[in-house]
């Protein structure tokens, strides 16, 4: 992995943590506290091991009538400690649910809210599959990391610190051995996980490629059939499929050998410590059996969080990559709206001047504030569009429209549709200000459309777009899409105008028929 990459990941992780803390500072503190207590209970239990053998068992060995009362007392104390630990484990898991789920909801809502504000250009240039996978894969891995990895990491770090201190107290020389072994383990982990990380990224790319291919081919499967092109497609598919197997195999292999490697290195370190420990206690007599026993136990519990950390590492790397994409979307520049001319309800007063009124009149006017002389004028909304020497291209280097002039009087649709295929979508893009012109001006009722608030501009246009999309909901809802507060009769009237009334009535539930995504239950023309 490159250094720059790592720095990026660090920044993303920091941002992610800040994102969590912003809303859940108190809960996170409480969780940390509970993890601390639960971990401490665990360490305390292991320390108890020493006392159990040295103080409560060995003195009484081979006694006819041993005094077991102190042992019972000690066990009761331990029980109290242990069960407090259990309670804390439950408590932090419980709080974490609210944090992680609430957090995910926030992420989703933020994503969606932000996405709705992004310019159309974003959707035209980004693959829709990529956008979707931010909502599905990336938030999913994020959920795992927030609800599992993060608490586990914290608990692992606390355990490591606590165990280290305890080991140091028990026996500095043995601690040294443990540390050396741990360094070996960390080294092994890094070697293996950097390999598996490399292949995981590769696997991700291959998954993306294959899924893209599958989506495209399934979309066009009927065309494949019509052209009898099945064989050629199978060949292409085979190649991509094989590639994915290759990288998936490597990624999983390295990921799955990590656990046995670490676990068994742990045993090796255990054996080494046992030998050295036995040597120390036999020859030097500086160590009691209880100390050795509990040290050995510690060396196990030292290894466990380290292998836990290394296991979590992969999912964290993947989650951070996902978080990067999530933040990437959140950082996309939203659609800017510098417009200030508003669409208002209006009425002609006695003098025949337009004045603004709060209620619906059926007359709409543009409310235009002029900064220069601090006046506000009202202009009747007619729907008169003028292209004045417009230049436009989707990319800087390729001009699609050059010096275009169009005059469309209200009700004149011919001007757009009459143009050649290429420009039609582009022109609706420009009038709606999905894209901005590079040179020249578009005037709407004489007002430069850059000055009109985008929402009001689009409201007034009510264009029928080239690719008609229906949304989930009833037919009624969909026709209402143009006007949220339309009464039922209005909807029916609009449908009749669009020659759709008859076919709607033929649907099983008439206007209440439920439509599936993109109106797949209707035939093309019915849309």
């Amino acid at each position: 992995m490159k250094a720059g990459n790592k720095k990026n990941m660090g920044a993303t992780l920091k941002r992610l943590i800040a994102y969590v803390l912003k809303k859940y500072k108190r809960q996170c503190l409480l969780v940390a506290l509970c993890i601390l207590v639960s971990t401490a209970a665990n360490i305390g239990g292991t320390l108890f091991m020493r006392n159990l053998i040295d103080d409560y068992i060995l003195p009484f060995v081979n006694q006819a009538r041993p005094d077991l009362a102190p042992l019972l007392r000690a066990l009761l104390v331990m029980a109290a400690v242990y069960y407090t630990g259990v309670f804390c484990t439950w408590a932090y898991n419980f709080i974490m649910i609210y944090v992680s789920q609430g957090m995910l909801k926030t992420v989703r809502d933020d994503l969606f809210h932000h996405m709705e504000r992004l310019p159309v250009r974003y959707f035209d240039t980004k693959s829709h599959g990529d956008i979707m996978s931010i909502y599905t894969n990336d938030t999913d891995t994020l959920r795992q990391v927030i609800s599992q990895s993060m608490p586990q990491m914290l608990s692992a770090v606390i355990t490591i610190a606590g165990v280290f201190v305890s080991m140091l107290v028990l026996s500095p020389p043995l601690t040294l051995i443990t540390v050396v072994m741990v360094i070996c383990m960390v080294f092994a982990t890094r070697t293996i996980s950097s390999k598996s990380g490399y292949y995981f990224v590769k696997q991700q790319t291959d998954v993306g490629n294959l899924n893209g291919y599958i989506e495209e081919m399934m979309e066009g499967q009927k065309v494949v059939k019509v052209f009898c092109h099945e064989k050629a497609c199978v060949q292409d598919f085979k190649e991509l499929n094989g590639k994915l197997r290759e990288s998936a195999n490597n990624a999983n292999r390295y990921a799955s050998i990590l656990m046995p490697v670490l676990g068994n290195l742990g045993y090796v370190s255990y054996a080494v410590i046992a030998m050295v420990g036995a040597y120390l206690s036999i020859l030097g007599g500086q160590m009691t059996l209880g100390t050795l026993a509990s040290f050995l136990q510690f060396s196990r519990s030292f290894n466990q969080p380290i292998s836990q950390l290394s296991q979590q590492l992969n999912s964290i790397i993947m989650a951070i990559a996902g978080a990067e994409r999530i933040f990437g979307l959140l950082d996309e520049e939203p659609e800017q709206d510098g417009g200030y001319v508003k669409l208002v309800n209006a009425r002609y007063d006695a003098q025949g001047n337009l004045t603004e009124v709060p209620e619906r009149t059926g007359i709409w006017a543009w409310k235009h504030y002029h900064k220069a002389d601090d006046t506000t004028t009202y202009q009747f909304m007619e729907g008169d569009v003028v292209f004045d020497h417009v230049d436009f291209g989707y990319t800087e280097d390729k001009e699609i429209l050059h010096d275009i002039e169009i005059f469309a009087r209200p009700g004149q649709k011919v001007a757009f549709v009459g143009a050649t295929g290429a420009g039609k979508t582009t022109i609706t893009n420009l009038i709606n200000r999905f894209y901005d012109v590079q040179d020249g001006k578009i005037r709407y009722d004489g007002i430069n459309i850059n000055k009109i608030k985008k929402d009001d501009l689009r409201h007034s246009l009510g264009l029928v777009l080239q690719d008609t999309h229906l949304f989930t909901g009833t037919v009624m809802d969909n026709i209402r899409y143009g006007k949220l507060d339309a009464a039922e009769e209005e909807v029916v009237r609009a449908a009749k105008l669009a020659n759709a009334h008859d076919f709607i009535m033929r649907l099983p539930d008439g206007y209440r028929t439920q439509l599936k995504g993109s109106g797949s239950s209707l035939s093309q023309g019915q849309r």
């Binding site: 159990l52 709705e116 065309v223 195999n249 290195l265 549709v417 295929g421």
Partner: protein
């Protein structure tokens, strides 16, 4: 279902069998190790010779190294087997889908097929890998640890047994209570994703109707539903690890108490007591893993079923063996044909249709939406089979043809047509693999596509983006027509294929057809009358029946429906874009 899936392991059988073997060996080592640990402690304590401690220690290191090697090997074979299994599953599904007829595809839907080949395979792969390792490892670990415990002292084994039974019961109870909720969560997830998908695809519509706020509110409602469902499921699942800890700690306390008494009585060594603690952890960990994989297996079961469905689906259209490969001419005959979609067999969309079309004739088809125009056309290249009556092409029933030969001779430009990523030339070559540049240019001239293709800087080598996103709707339609023309078909069917082409270009295409390919039978389905008014015959469809047939002039005189449509379209100045 398991049989259907497992058959796909294929070449990876060896790895799939080796994995559990390695796992078992690894577990055996791991069970032996605590005994060695106990021995070290006992010898170390009794202050006996250092030599024995060292010998056991070295043996233990050896065992650990062996276990490590087995572990690495099992990891290697498991990932090889599971990734190979996944690859074979995808390949088998893909090849199966290639044999599907239109109605098979309709049954699963495009999105359904995509999910099955992506997410579902992923789930099964993971479950397979897990079950090969953990599902073998955990039970064996459990049993052998129990055996070891029993050998050390039967009373400990009894304690473990009781705890295991209780713990299993509690874990099972938790997951059985949580699972239905989890399933609902996943269902809601699909809904949420569908909503996002709609918005991503239809952003223009959302924006032009200024519905961003409304959509956001709808989304928030949905995501809140998921949150609260998830919270209620996870509240139960959050009990898992405390319950597990509780059992572990209780075991340790019990063992400490009983063990202490036994050591004092001389029936247990300190080392054995220590190994007991290791076994506690081993046993409970295995239980935990089993319960975790169990949840995963249940979740992936649904995925496995969905995959098996595709693999088991029988294509409902077959090419007859040794079918006829030559189509004599472009005549079409429908003899009292009835047709219902297989998804809705009770409802005939076409009934009792009889029509004879001569080779070279140009037929226009007009009708309201849902009037079975497309269904009529789909029967000619045998995309579906007629449910009643007979469809003949060139005088021979379509069922007697070799399917590929029939479809090569009956070129259909589908209503919902697709271009694929690749250059324009590559896309066009779908029509004829070895088409020369001249042939390609000629087809594009006919389809009025040559001019705009040449306007692209890279001309015929311009790369199409996925779904042909970088050309306009009209351009896409013209490319699709050119692609179909390259087949040099005897019959050409255009299913509403010039709807986005402006009327002038539309007329040019029709003129080119008339002059350049007079012998090809042309069937043109259209929404606007101008596209078909110069056809030899116009068929007016309504509600699955042919209402009227005749030339433009005849129909104007005799068919009120036709006249009405004509008048409504001419009044609007020939522009029907908005009437769609």
């Amino acid at each position: 279902m398991f049989k259907t899936l497992l058959r796909q392991i294929g070449d990876y059988k060896k790895d799939a069998i080796l994995t559990p073997v390695f796992v078992v060996l690894e577990v055996i080592m791991e069970v032996i190790i605590p005994i060695m640990m106990a021995a070290i402690i006992d010898y170390g304590l009794s202050g006996q010779s250092m030599g024995r401690v060292a010998a056991i220690g070295l043996a233990m290191i050896g065992a650990a190294m062996l276990a490590l090697w087995f572990g690495v090997e099992s990891g290697r074979t498991a990932s090889s087997a599971s990734s190979g299994f996944a690859m074979n599953l995808r390949q088998a599904m893909y090849e199966r889908i290639q044999t599907f007829s239109f109605s098979n595809i309709d049954k699963f839907s495009t999105a359904g097929l995509v999910t099955r080949m992506t997410t579902d395979v992923m789930n099964v792969q993971q479950a397979f890998q897990m079950s090969m390792r953990i599902c073998v490892r955990a039970p064996i670990m459990l049993v052998s640890a129990m055996v070891m415990t029993f050998l050390i002292h039967p009373r400990f084994a009894l304690i473990f047994l009781i705890v295991i039974v209780c713990l299993t019961a509690v874990l099972a109870l938790i997951s059985s209570r949580a699972n239905p909720t989890l399933r609902r969560v996943f269902h809601e997830y699909d809904e949420l994703n569908a909503r996002v998908q709609e918005n991503v695809n239809g952003m223009r519509v959302v924006k032009s109707f200024v519905r961003e706020e409304y959509e956001t509110r709808r989304f928030e409602k949905e995501s809140e539903k998921i949150r609260s469902l998830f919270v209620s499921a996870e509240k139960l699942l959050a009990l898992n690890s405390p319950v597990m800890q509780f059992s572990m700690y209780s075991c340790i306390l019990l063992i400490s108490w009983m063990g202490a008494k036994m050591i004092i009585a001389g029936s247990l060594t300190e080392g054995q007591l220590m190994s007991m603690f290791t076994y506690v952890i081993n046993i409970l960990m295995s239980l935990m893993m089993v319960s975790m994989t169990f949840v995963m297996l249940i979740m992936s079961r649904a995925s496995g079923e969905r995959i098996a469905e595709v693999l088991a689906e029988e294509p409902d259209l077959y090419s007859v063996p040794h079918g006829i490969k030559e189509v004599p001419d472009g005549s079409i005959d429908f003899e009292q044909v009835g047709f219902a979609y297989p998804s809705n067999p009770g409802k005939e969309v076409l009934n009792d249709l009889t029509i004879h079309i001569r080779p070279g004739e140009t037929i226009g088809i007009l009708g309201g939406t849902g009037s079975a125009k497309s269904s009529f056309a789909a029967l000619i290249p045998r995309l579906y089979d007629a449910t009643r009556g007979e469809v003949r092409v060139g005088g021979i029933p379509v069922k007697d043809y070799d399917m590929a030969s029939l479809r090569d001779n009956v070129a259909m430009v589908l209503q919902k047509n697709v271009l694929f990523s690749g250059t324009i030339k590559e896309n066009l070559r779908w029509g004829k693999e070895d088409a020369t540049d001249e042939e390609i240019v000629r087809a594009c001239r006919l389809a009025q596509a040559d001019e705009f293709i040449r306007d692209f800087p890279a001309g015929y080598d311009t790369r199409m983006e996925r779904g042909g996103a970088n050309v306009s709707g009209g351009q896409k339609q013209r490319l699709c027509i050119a692609r179909a023309l390259l087949k040099k078909p005897k019959i050409l069917i255009l299913d509403d294929s010039t709807s986005a082409v402006d009327t002038k270009t539309d007329a040019l295409i029709r003129r080119a057809f008339r002059e350049e390919i007079p012998d090809t039978t042309k069937i043109i389905i259209a929404q606007r009358i101008s596209s078909i008014q110069d056809a030899d015959r116009i068929l007016v469809f309504d509600n699955g029946r042919m209402e009227a047939a005749g030339t433009h002039e005849e129909l104007l005189g005799s068919c009120p429906v036709y006249r009405e449509i004509y008048e409504s379209q001419t009044k609007e100045g020939g522009d029907d874009e908005s009437g769609k």
